[in-house]
Every structure is written in structure tokens, then in C-alpha cells.
Symmetry: D3
Subunit: 322 residues, 6 copies
């Protein structure tokens, strides 16, 4: 019995990919070993998380993010911006080692410098990995352009100023690492979104002593998170050559982001974060960013992975609007 | 040893149901084959979701919704309205076929027309099912009352204007289906709540070309979502004979509604949605509504099923307040 | 556009239930307040679990079991037995109280006696509930037929012989409760399936002192679990008037039954348990049984609920084969 | 092969605890059998939840809360307050019985009175357990200080005014229990946060009849939840000798608190609740509080346990700010 | 501060793929539009599951299976067989339609015929999808080689002989579909592994009437499942030109395979299934196989996806041993 | 209203611990800084898993194991052995570093040597942690007793013979690490339980070349896993001074142990593993053991944590039976 007998049909086809990119994975091209000369933006994965204080599978986010691209179009309806016009390439992942964390970190420094040298005018996005990578990426940027001063906009629940002598270059120390190694001055750092019972008083003292700017979430909400970020950028804009935007996904409230190593209540909402990321992307001095501490294995219903991916796209919307 | 010896006890009873309805499942009466003449509102399930783009168990929502009634009373404390005075009947489910999607859709058309003919003055609620059912229900309404013009208020993350020639009558095409089949005019459609990277530019062009009204969530929040919906209703009220309210549960933020086929970040909050549903229910021209694309199998902690059920009750509160 | 235009269709129908029972829920009829005279077997729910040592939602199993019936046909293919010929009725649930555990227990005693008096020749199945109910059901049976001696076949990881003075009539004490209250003699109790580190030595001493028979899972597997159960029944058959079969679902290995309050490794497999239940059902002296300590809220993928339901059907297959 | 050969190393150490408390578990000292004379605040667990209407493992929250302390520092960055200066002691758990609920409740009454007598000037925190414990704790307070009038600030989705004759001292009746036993006057009770379809009209009538104050979440949000609580405290301050703050975690929205027995949509956000708890802690007449109906076994990603723990710390921040 | 200063390091590298295949995903090459002439075996995905009786995401298994390849090496240690010598190609997925199930099925028929014509001597593996695809694949094989008689070895909990007139070409009807359309004779079908209460008596009657061979799991275990399959193959070998092996993953016990639409207790263990798949692969007349009804969205801990992937590799081990 | 009025009650008590140990956590005493002279066995945690190939939270198992003790009594009913007579002490955890893996490993070497020197006649149990720790513990044993030859009994799905030059001292290399560093001879190693597609041929070649004994699970089952282990011990007994038993929890089937970094189908059952652990514990030459690669964060229903804890208790039962 053939239930379809007599119906005319078009010639059968095997599944094929689309020519015109609609979804993000159809737009962002992996480049393999080649280095495109015309990149407006480049993206790479940094699958390192064994340097985290508590167990973390943030090393799985680069791949999870790429898979999540299938669920997003290139078109930002709110801003009427189509990202597909932006020439963004995926350089692949920085190689990591199973037990040699110093080697992992050096690879990230080298990769960051390498990217900066090959794509000096491009905006670069690093998909982490844990927060320890931020200090390494900034070190690489500095190696490639030693005379540029760098400012930092950080969205985070934590100061990330813990003692290097206790933890080494872990995900609790990147900001201190950069300050102590002279990569970035304290007064060129703005941390926005801190809240609750997740820092110790000595870290606040350290921040005060080094002139690091910080705004709790509660304070930031008075003018709005995006406006607070805009003011930080404006303030930095007159003082530094370029700005690095580091987005620790644990800044989000646990209801929106269960998939981070130490998810907390009382944090930011995703709509606030997306708006802030767009503001960063739009600012002409922001030349690099990272998304860190997103652990897909702790996620619930894929929501944190989607939120992290949306941060990347919101940032790129800002870049496209420059 | 008898630990209870000597204690006097009331005569033992087997479990029984209550006479006075307190919970929703004690209030809404299933009618079986009978057709009550005095219905102020009727409700039926449409357990079809094999017409969804991605795998969906939205077909399980009618039963899940009925079970969730046990967790809700009939009394809306915020509005001091007791729904139990409303004569609402449950007509059961529209019969579906395992592999014949056209037959499923025709059954829905027939059921909708049947309901309209038997209960012309009643408000009808369809518990989906995926969004493809909306076009079928509206087609049935039109068949039963061909000279009435129908307007649409849609709460959705998506336009649902994708190409029928590519997808057929799927959950991505119902609005286009209605426009192209002449059931509803573009200018009689208001879509509220769109956001993010979940539509393509050609769909916006289509909407613009056909005069479909749409308001992104960001825009809607400027005056409040409920107020935006109220304005859409007011605008429609002068132009159409009746209004159909379609609530795609994917309009909600993933933190509030993980149980939809493609849950997204950056969406609506439940308090906004419940208020909007009440506003729709209260408007005298809204004669039918549906709740679609709620997949109980993807739910977390039963929260999306509860949210969908609350939408139904908020809408009914509005109806009771007319 | 109507994509189905021109296709002939059968008259539309609303969903309906089948006349000939194929699934278990179509076969087992709820009786409400009526008492069928022709029952070969009767079934009732005992939704009590607040008497459990650790938090338990075993009170939710009666409803969960009834819902699971939809996933089982009445036909046992292995034995070529169709249960639908058996006149089995569902009497509903024994009424429980929220804070008065003695009242709950008395209701169970009364219900059990009531069932025995109305259906003296029927096999009765109690769907628990926690193991504390067993002592109450047996007490009810004894009240209804005081001159009958009762033997017990118990499948359990535990002795359930803990001290009444410490715990009261909890799920750790039912067997001791029955022994100490004189309902059942120690030598008329056979416990099969104990294993691991889940009992204390004083309980073994108590069992030895009262002549309670017990066989660890390891010992039982030497001849097979079903054969061990068959021998226990044969031994009891010559000594008692009727046998009560109590199945504590925690006898199963955690891989097969995560949904019990204290699931353990090293337990029974479901194929062993189903076979044992059938052997019990087939024995002419087994007049009542219960299934206890199955907590649907702790379940994974619905597997324990399905296993518990299968135990009921395996037992009934045995009854049908008598 | 020794990969570390030649590296100098500090002498190896076994893991040790810190001297200076940074995390909450390093600060709050368990006292065992001793009774510290210098306590500014005391805390105890009340692991009872078998008195809940639906199955609940709220009895597991005291231990879960203590474990969660490891994820919180003692330092509230928002308020720049370090709790470690507060002398807070953990008295352990009130003993419970497996099947004797009246005994459980009496133990709570006795424990509460005992705490009040030993620590008359201390603030006491009870970590529940279900809401039935509130009436018992207040009874104990009254026994220890019979001439003090007590007011109640309640954050709850429900009235908790259900009929004692139907449910006994369950988690749906504590407020009625206190009113009917004369412990607290209706007009000294303020319930804030009610919403949705989770109460019956007769409960509202009861509240109205007894002059109980209640503010729905929607009303409370007009001035802000914290401000509404502050006004309730101010109003109570002039009328009663001391205020008891009872926080039913089900007041929270399901997106923020899936781990409660009957989680609902449309509830409070955690930022609102934390602010309200701080306001309560800061008020000099608030001498005791509880956190109830938090079921860790229903939790998702540990978020409700963290939220409950944060409520405790926010309240203590207020106490430290007095 | 640079914690790695002074350490010599190899030149940094970006991540790269291996030349010599160790993992399955490094071995199986996707062919895109090309058709390799030297294929010993070919594999393709059939992502259709909207033809399933209950909601199913079996359409997601082809991609899930490919991702799972990363967790398996090409080397079968038990048999000391390295699959990497086998020339196996991945042809991609058969194109599916969102709402036109007949079109989906026709595409599968066409794809199967296309594969057979291009690779007449190769063994072909179809990664489903639901069981409805089996009838379509066999139809395609028959179209490409009309004069060959085909036998079936089926591992299944169900007969899959339900009435086409009721369900159409769904996942409950494929075997009947083939018998009624004359593709395969009843006596050339062997179904092994049936058990429990998951079939109706009329299906057994149908099987008996058409001479279909079936062996319940209980019977099969007497000689061992693999031996039973070997006997079926031997019996078929003398009667048909080639054998098709269809593996419905629901044959497995729920403890081993929660990720199927209707997982059941009392089923096969994975070690039995893997051995049976190897026996099929080794038999020279088995020219095609499929793996169906594996729903990754219902999976727990990825275990069913891994089991399905292992079935594929066990079968291929047999092929390599020919 | 006081519902308990008139009832006499015993004096209220706060919760207290028992004097006579019944549960494992009441028996095993933590020693803090003291070193008991009379230890028959000692236990310590090794919370290191950042040296794992894939992300692992095996570092959380020591604490999870200690918590799981509450669910086990000290009494092995199968063997009628009460462990509480054994003087076993818990030495606490070996200190770990966040980013300095060599330091972590050195600490383990030092701790192991320290334990051996202080408790030369005791059996020592290390609760891992990942498999990299095994080489470190054995190195420590060798440092403390350099003239003793050590044999290994390994239960594992993998050879764990991967190349140190590629991975360093990771969880894929411990056996090779020991062979290459001369700690253990290849012929003194017995690996039992390998199966499936989870090793590469070069590892088998390495094993063959170094005379490492290995038995696949399939082979081991012919005589029984426990008997195979007994034979390995007997063979080793004549050749070495002492035997180290290393239990990689990934040897278990995924249905029994989802909580390991790379859970596989086709593995061992828990009853086989427990029996094997007892056989090891009973052999007089087995002086140390570890349990590794159990990741509690990947667990389902706590079953792997319970299985790992049972392995420890089964091993100790053997020790007690010596």
C-alpha cells in the first residue's frame, strides 16, 4: 500500500545549507588556517576553565555558543540592524593543555597578540572560558601594541581582585593580575553590577586604594544600567586609547543565568545586560571584549547559553551601529 | 499494640469531591456530548503540535492545563472577582490524526465553526496546541459568521509571517496564512512583544507592506504592555466586528517560560502578560482567544504550565468584569 | 488560501473514548459511591506519606499510578493473558487528614475492613502511600475476619522492624507493629530481598527472636527470586488461612527505581520483581496486596511509577491465571 | 618520571579552616549544649514539614541553609556592613518526631520559650520547616513573656487563614491559629504580597472581619514593597511591644523560587524581598523572624535555597545596622 | 606580574584536528554533494518524527548521534577490531518538510532508492527518526532492486502492526505497512524482544495470521538474545536475498534507555542489544539497518544517545568482521 | 486554641547525636590535627579534579561521600559483619591549589607518604578526586617504604595508559605514569572491566609490550567479576609485597553510574563491583585503595555517590573479615 500514490512531487533533495545567511551560524564563517584581510571583527574561543576556583565547565561554552547560533537570526528587530553585513570571522579555539595551566595561559597571551597583529583595526571577541583568561588576553593586546593605554569596563558580581599569591592566575584574580602587572591602571577600571554577600571587605579596600571605580547594581539602577555603562565609557574615553569590555556572566541573577559556577540571587536582569552590551559595542574605543564564566553543564533549559550568545549579538549590534 | 486505642473518632469516609467549587477543576464542568445552552464561555483543547517547526509536545498542554486547574482557586484576589459565577464549560478536545495533518487542521476548522454556531454569544477559549491552529480557528469563526470582520491581537516574540510555500500551515505561518487567505486584513492585526534576534528582515518587510501593526517589547514597555494592548484594542474596536486574541507563550522570557519550543532571553515578564490578558478579556469585542506553543515536556518545575493556566484565568477575569 | 481544498473528509468528530478496553484506564472502572457485587478484585488508593521517616510524596502515587494506566494495555503478551476479562473496580482513595496521623491510620483500618466485608471473596489491592499503611490494612482485614490467620510475603530492602516506641506507626515499623499487636506471628512472615548496609544488627536479632523468615537478595538469587517467593508461599500455604503480599518499591535497585524515599544500590531488578509479583498473584491464598513507598516526585523519566504500575499488572496477571 | 622534579615546595599541609571568618559558615558558631550569654542574635532550625498540606521537604531546609552559608561572605557590599561583628549563635535543631505531630509542635513551643527565656534581649531566627511552626514559635514567645503584645509582618502569597477544624495546625492555618488562640490580634497582623488565584473569598472575609491588614503585591508595588513593609512596621510600632516577621518563601515568583511546595507565577522578585527583609531587620521592635516553606528537594539549580539564605542575611544586615 | 616569566615554551598553536582518526568523528567523513565510489558502508540521517503517535524529538537523533561520535574511539577492544579501516561515508540528512508528512516519506523512499542505486554493494545505515521510516526505506530498496526478496530482523518492544487505516504511516504501523503493501512477506519477519503490557491481542492475532515470527524477551533469554538473533538470521538466510535489520530503541529497558517516546520497564539490557547488533552486522546477507525512536530530548545523562551510537558501532564491528 | 492542651509530654529536647554508632557518619571519626595510634584503617579525601581531560567535579566527591554516610548503617547484612568494630579514622582532605597542579600533586605524594609513615600497618583509603591521584598516592607509598614492591588491581573502562608527553599527569595517564617512573612493573598490574569503544589500539599495544594484564568485562563475566579479581589477587600475592586497589567509577554502566565524567554503556553492574571490592578488601596484601572519577555534579538521583560510598563500605567489609 502506498498512501501517497498518484500525488505529484518535486524531485527529491538531500538537505542543504542556505546561500543567504539568515541564522547566525550561516553568517559567521570559520576560517580554518586562513587569515582574512578584510575582517571588521574576529571571534575566537578560549576553552579553559580548569583555572576556576570551583569546578567549572566554562571550557564547553565556545562550542555551546556556536551551536546556539542556530537559534538566532542575524537581524536585530529592536534596532532594525542586520548583522550579516558585518564581516566577522571565527578563528577557532586557542589550544589548551590538560594539566599545564601556565602553558594554557601563555597560549592565550600569544593568541591575543597574534589576533591584534593580524587584525589591528578589527574588534575582537573572546568566548571563554573562565575569568582568568581576561588578564591573558589583555597582556597579549599590550604585547602587540605596547604604547596603547587600555581601560576596562567590567560587568561582574565580584571584584575579581583576590590575592594572586593565594590563588594564582585564577578566575578570582584577573583584575588584580592586570593592576599588579602594570597592564592597566586602577583608575582605568570600571566595575558595574556588584551586589550582595559575594565579596570581602579587603577587596573593597584594595579597589579603593587603587582607585578602581565600582558601582553596585543597586546604585547603577538609579540611572539605569546602560546609562551607567555609558557614563563609564565616556569617562574612560578621554583617558585611554582603547577599552576592553569583560562580561562575567555571573553578574546575572540566578533566575536568568543558572549556568554559572556560582550563580547568585539579587543580580542583573538579561534586558539590562543586553542593553549594556550594545552600549559597549557602539562606543568607538571598545576594541575587544570577552564573555566568561558561563558553564553550559550547569545550565537549565539552555537559558544561560542563550543569554551569553545574546550578549555577543547585542555587542555586535552596537559595533554595526558605529 | 494499637496506638490509637480509646480515641473516639468520626465515622470513616472515602474521599469525596466538594459541592461548592473552590478550585478551578471543581468549577469548570466537562460537558461530554451535551451542549449547554446557557454557556457564557466555552473552552476546548486542540492537542496538535506535529505541525511545529521544531519538535514540540504542545499537544500535551490541554491535559496539563486541566491538571493544573487543581492548583488555582476561582477567586482573583487582586481584582476581588470570583470566576465561579461565570458559566464556563469544557467541550473536550478536537480529534487529531497521527499522520494526516490536513485532517487535523480541517477538524479544527470544523470544531471552531461548530462552537461558534452552537454558542454564538459565548466567548471561546482554545487551549493549544501550536500556533498553526490559530489560522484554522479563525477560519472556522469566519465560516460560521462570514460577514463579520475579525481583528487580531497577538502577543508573540515572532511575526509568524513565514512563507506558506516553504512551511505549509505550520506554527511559523499562521498570521500570513490568515492574511493571504483573506480571513483578516493586515491593518487589523496588532502584534505586541517582539524582540531580539528571532525574526528576519523580510518578515518585517512583509508586515510593513501589508500594514500589520507591531510593537516591540521595548517600545511597549514605554507606556506599559497592558496600556499598549489597550490602545490596540481601542484602535481595532472602531474598525472590526470582533477581536481574536492569540497568546503565543514564547512571548515570555525564558526565565519565566522555559517550556516553549524555542524559549528566548529578553522576553516579557509574567506580570506584564497576565495584565495584558485581563485587558483583552475585559474588552467587549474580544470573542475568542487561544494559548499556544506551550510544551509541558520542556517545562521546568511546572512553571510554564502554571503561567499558561494563569493567562487563561486572567483573561476570564476580564470577561467576568465586562 | 485553503491548503486542503477539494479533499473529501469524514464528518468531524470531537475526541471520544473507546468502547472496547485496550488500555488499562479504559478497563478499570471507578465506582464512585456504588459497591459492585460482582467484583473479582478491587483496588483503592491510600494517599498517606506524612508518616514516613524522611520526606516522601508517596501520597501522590495513587493518582500517578492511575495516570500511568494510559501507558499500559490490558494484555500480557508474555503469558498471553488479557486482564480485561477480570472484573476489577477502583473504589477511590481513603480519606486522609493533613495533621492528624492517627485519624489517617484509623481511616485506613476502617477502609480495609469495609472492603473486606463488602467484597469478602475479592482480591484487594492497596496503592500506597508509605509502608505504615500495611499494618493498618492488615488490622482492618483482621477486624473483618478475626478468626483468619494471616501470613505475610514482604519484598523489601529493610526489615521494617524498627521500634514503635521511637518512631510510632511509621514506614520503618509496620512489620513490628503487626507482630507486637498480635495480628501476625513472626513465623508467618517471609521477607525477601534485603541487602547492603540499610539495616541494623538489632533488627536482625529481633527477626531471629520472633522467628521471622528472611532471605537476602544474594541468597534469593541462587534459586531465583521468583522461586524463592514460590517456596515462601508454599511454606505459608500450609500454615495460614490467607496471605498478604506487601511490595516495598525500595526493594528495587536505584538504577530501576530512583523514585523511592531512600533508593539504594545493589537491589533487585524489575524483571525479578515482576516475576515475583506474578507468582504471588497466582497463589490462591494471596487475598490482598499493597505497593508502597513509591515517591513520584523523586522519579526520573517516570520509570519508578511505570515499574510500580507494572507490579500491579503482573500481580493481576497471576490472579487472572488462577 | 616525576614531572615536578627540582621544584622547591613549601611543606605539605592538610586542609585547614580559616581563623578570620570570611564566609558565613566560618562566622556562625554552633553552640552544642552550651548557652552563650553574650548572644546578640540566635538561630535555630525547625525541621518539620509533615504538617504541610501538600508533600513538602521543607524539613530539609535547616541543613541546606547551613550548607549554603559556604557560598556567602559575611560582608554586605551594598550597605558596607560586615556581619561578622554580630554575635550570632546556632543553637541546633528542635527535635522532631516521625509520626507524632502534636509532639513536634509542642517541642517547638517549648524551644521558642526556652530561647526567649535564655536570650531575652536577642533577636531570634527560626529556619523552618513549614508555616505551621509560626504559630508555635509565637506561642512560645508568649509563654516566656505573657504580658507583651506581639504584632506580625507576614510576606506571603496566601492568607494562611484556613479553617483549623478542617486542617488542624497545618501550613495553611498559622495566622488563624494565632488569632483564634488569642495570641495576636487581627489588627496587629500585616500580610503583604498576596496575589493571583491562590486564596478563596471566605479567607478574605475572615481577614476583613478580624481587621487583618493585607496588601496585594500589585498594591505594594505602587510605593515599593520595602516602603510598604516600612509603613506596616511604623504602624505596628506604636501599638505592640514587639514584632514577629514571618517570611513564607512562596511569596516569591516561581522564576525566582521554584523550590516551594506550591510555587506560583506572578509573585515577588528576590530584590524586593531582600530589601523588605532588611527593613524588618532594621526595625528595633522586630525581635524574631522565621523563613518557612522552602523545599530544597523541589529546587532548581539551588536557587531557592540561596534566596532563602540571602533573606536571612539581609535581615541580619538590618539587625547589624540598628 | 607574569607568573610564567622565564619558562621556555613551544610556539603557540591554534587548535587543530588530528590526521589519524582515533575518534569516530575523525573517521566518518561527510561527503556533501559528492558520491564516493569506494564506499563499503554509507550512513544517512532521517530526521523525521512528526509521524510518531506521541510527541517525539527523534528527529534530533541524527545530529545528536554525530555529536556523540566524539565520545567513542574507532577501536572495539572486546573484538580487537579497528573500524577505521572500513570506508564509511556520511551522506547527510534526507530533507524533511514541516507539515507535509507524505512529502517527507516520499523523500525517504527516494533517498533509500538513490543510495541503493549508487552504492549497490554497500551496507547502508539509516539514523532515524521514528519507526515510520522503516517502511519507506524498505520501499526504496525494493524500488532500486525490485526482484530481491527482503527479510526483516526487528528488535522491538512492540509488534508495530497497528492498523494503517487508523494511524496512517506512523511509528506504530511500519511492519504492517510492509506486509500489506507486499514489500515483505510475514514469514520473512522476525521480531525479537517483545515483552510486558505494551501490545494488544489483535496484533498478536495479526502476526499469527501472517506467519510473522516473534520471540518475547523472556523466551529469547533462554538461549541468549544474540543466539536467538543468530538463529533468526540463519533461518532467513536460506529464504531471502537480503536482510534488513531494524532496531527500535524502545526495546531497551527504561533504566538503560529513558530517551525513547514510551520507555518501558522489563526490557532488554544494553549488553544484550550490542551483542545482537554485532551478530546482525556480521551476517553477510544483512545489507541495511536503521536505528529508530530515540528521542534525545527525553534522555537522561545522555545515556540513550550513547546506547544508540554504540548499537551503530557494534553493528559496524560485525560488518568489519565479515 | 491549643490543640495539644491536656496531653502530658516528656521534657522537650533539642536534637542530639547518638552515642552508639548506627549510621556510618556516627562511626567514622574525624581526627582534626591529632593522629590516632590505634588506627586499623584511615581515610582521607583528595579533592583534585582540575587535572581531568574533560571538565569534572570529582573534587566534590570527598564531601559528597561524607554526606552520603548518613544513608548507610555500619552493618553489612549480607555478610553479617558490623563495621563499627573497625577503628577507622577520617584524616580530612589533602590541601589543593587553584591553579598550581604540580603543587596539588606534590601535596598528594606528601600526604600519602605521611599517612604510610604514621600508620604503617593500617589500610588506607583515598577518596578522590580524579584518576591522576593514583600515581601520586603510589609514589607517596613508595617514598615511605621504598623497598616494597607494589602490585595494582584496577577496575576501569580504560587502560589509563595515555601518553604523559601529551597530557601530563592527567586522569588518562596514571598507570603509564607509574610504569614509566618505575614505581610499578607492568606485569604487576591487573586491569579488569575494560569494554567497548573507549580505548585506542596503541594503548593495547603499550599494555601488551609492558606485560600489563587486562581482562575485558566480557571475559571477566565468564567466571564472574569477583572470581576474576580473586585470581588476579592470588597471582599478585606471590609476586609483590603489597597490593593497591584502584577503583575508577567509570567502570560501571551508565545506568548505574551517570555521575562520572565520561559515563559509558555496556559497563559493569554495581552488584559485580561491590563483590569485587569486598574480595579486594579481604585479601591480606591489599594495603591501600582509592575511588576516583566520581563527579557528584553529573549525578542523577544521587545514585553514583551512593554506589561509590557502597564500594568503600564493601571494601571495608572485606577488611573487617580478614
Amino acid at each position: 500500500m502506498n498512501p501517497y500514490e498518484g500525488l505529484e512531487r518535486p524531485p527529491f533533495v538531500w538537505n542543504q545549507h542556505k546561500d543567504v545567511p539568515e541564522k547566525v551560524h550561516e553568517w559567521i564563517r570559520p576560517v580554518g588556517e586562513k587569515r582574512p584581510e578584510d575582517a571588521e571583527a574576529v571571534l575566537y574561543g578560549v576553552p579553559l576553565s580548569r583555572s576556576s576556583i570551583s569546578p567549572s565547565a566554562a571550557s564547553a561554552f565556545p562550542e555551546a555558543c556556536r551551536r546556539a547560533w542556530r537559534g538566532f537570526t542575524t537581524y536585530n528587530l529592536d534596532e532594525d540592524v542586520n548583522l550579516s553585513g558585518l564581516r566577522l570571522y571565527d578563528l577557532g579555539d586557542v589550544k589548551q593543555h590538560v594539566t599545564d595551566i601556565p602553558q594554557c595561559h601563555q597560549n592565550i597571551v600569544d593568541a591575543s597578540a597574534d589576533v591584534k597583529r593580524h587584525h589591528p583595526g578589527s574588534v575582537s571577541l573572546a568566548i571563554g572560558g573562565d575569568h582568568s583568561i581576561t588578564a591573558m588576553i589583555v597582556k597579549g593586546l599590550k604585547e602587540a601594541a605596547p604604547d596603547k593605554t587600555i581601560g576596562i569596563v567590567q560587568l561582574d558580581t565580584h571584584f575579581d581582585l583576590r590575592d594572586m599569591r593565594e590563588l594564582g592566575p585564577a578566575n578570582g584574580t584577573p583584575i588584580r593580575n592586570m593592576v599588579e602587572s602594570g597592564l592597566v591602571k586602577g583608575e582605568h577600571i570600571h566595575n558595574i553590577g556588584l551586589h550582595g554577600f559575594f565579596n570581602t571587605p579587603d577587596l573593597k579596600d584594595y579597589a579603593d586604594h587603587h582607585g578602581i571605580h565600582y558601582t553596585t547594581l543597586k546604585q547603577a539602577r538609579k540611572n539605569g544600567v546602560a546609562e551607567t555603562v555609558a557614563q563609564a565609557l565616556e569617562s574612560l574615553g578621554g583617558k585611554v586609547d582603547c577599552v576592553y569590555f569583560t562580561c562575567d556572566m555571573d553578574v546575572l541573577d540566578m533566575a536568568y543565568a543558572p549556568g554559572v559556577p556560582a550563580t547568585t540571587p539579587g543580580g542583573m536582569r538579561t534586558d539590562e545586560l543586553f542593553e549594556a552590551a550594545l552600549v559597549c559595542g557602539r562606543h568607538p574605543k571598545v576594541m575587544a571584549m570577552d564573555i566568561v564564566c558561563l558553564d553550559p553543564e550547569k545550565d537549565v533549559a539552555g537559558m544561560t547559553v542563550k543569554a551569553g550568545t545574546h550578549v555577543m549579538l547585542s555587542f555586535l549590534t552596537g559595533v554595526a551601529m558605529r
